[in-house]
Symmetry: C2
Subunit: 194 residues, 2 copies
């Protein structure tokens, strides 16, 4: 009665399914994307998706997890290269925005699909988001700011503005995620030099 552990097949199309789901969730939103849309995108039958995921919301959670993982990874790598607190925050802001606007679909799903839109998965989604927020809280805590400064507002101001940029940003010669993040940070940094 030995339990044989088997290695997954190499032609497993689960990665493709996740890619397609991420793309569609980002383009059309969660509710407007059907399981058939996703299945068609990877040339599968709708029912086959249920071999990989028990329900539609589990697919979303999987995309979310990968999104948070990607952003966290990029931001961690970016701040590791800096030592000065303001430099670290700027590096984080740039990495955050580049992850959102350049990495592509996974990261954008995280800030575009609202937990409240998917009641059955809301708790799990919020948890994933919160784990990331802590990173920025630590960076802001390390800043040399005047004692009366409201550091929570500071964090919410910066992160809110960065996340909202998804709604208006269009890549072009003058504009880049990096230049925008730096602009934002300059506006905030100058204010604290008095």
């Amino acid at each position: 009665m030995t339990q044989t552990l088997r290695i997954p097949r190499s032609d497993n199309r689960l990665p493709l399914v996740l890619d397609a789901a991420a793309r569609l969730f980002r383009e059309k939103g969660y509710a407007a994307t059907s399981m058939r849309d996703i299945a068609t995108a990877v040339d599968m039958l709708p029912g086959s998706l249920y071999y990989h995921f028990a329900a539609k919301e589990d697919l979303l959670v999987a995309v979310y997890e990968e999104g948070v993982r990607l952003i966290t990874e990029k931001v961690r790598a970016a701040i590791a290269r800096q030592t000065e607190p303001w430099e670290r925050l700027e590096a984080a802001a740039v990495a955050h925005l580049e992850a959102l606007l350049k990495t592509g679909d996974y990261a954008l799903v995280v800030i575009r699909v609202l937990p409240q839109d998917v009641p059955k998965a809301a708790a799990r989604l919020v948890k994933l988001r919160d784990s990331y927020d802590k990173l920025f809280a630590e960076l802001v805590a390390a800043l040399p700011l005047p004692p009366e400064t409201d550091r929570q507002s500071f964090r919410l101001l910066l992160l809110g503005a960065l996340n909202w940029s998804q709604h208006w940003f269009r890549e072009n010669g003058r504009n880049s995620p990096r230049s925008i993040a730096r602009s934002f940070l300059k506006l905030l940094r100058d204010a604290q030099k008095t």
Copy 2:
């Protein structure tokens, strides 16, 4: 052959329909709200809604219009009471946030339902949003800022942060839309005093 102009009936339930649609679109999003949801909320039959609106997306546009109207009205009234540019911007920020977080459903739908989620109505929705953005652009243009300041980034930073607050704000003793807007503005204002 005289064309008789008649006054609408006084028991018209269209306002109730709009209220219910605004509430549901805000709570569940556009795609997840069905015409039956809305009809049930006002004790009507689904088909009856089509006497007032030719399609679901027209209902959304109507809610959007009222939302933009409400926000614009509040902000205009608030800035009219101030003369100094920074005071005017702060009054606008407070009014904007109070409109979003206190006025209720109509205003929140405007920043919560994305035009890209409703392709058939996207153009109309974007137009409504843009008409409002101009208001803030004028306020920022009037600020006495150092010549090298990027005023567009300034506006996007502030407005983005204000709009994003819908995702984390919870009313309580310490927190109010007014106090948040003022915190944000203080962080930005101090930076420009050097």
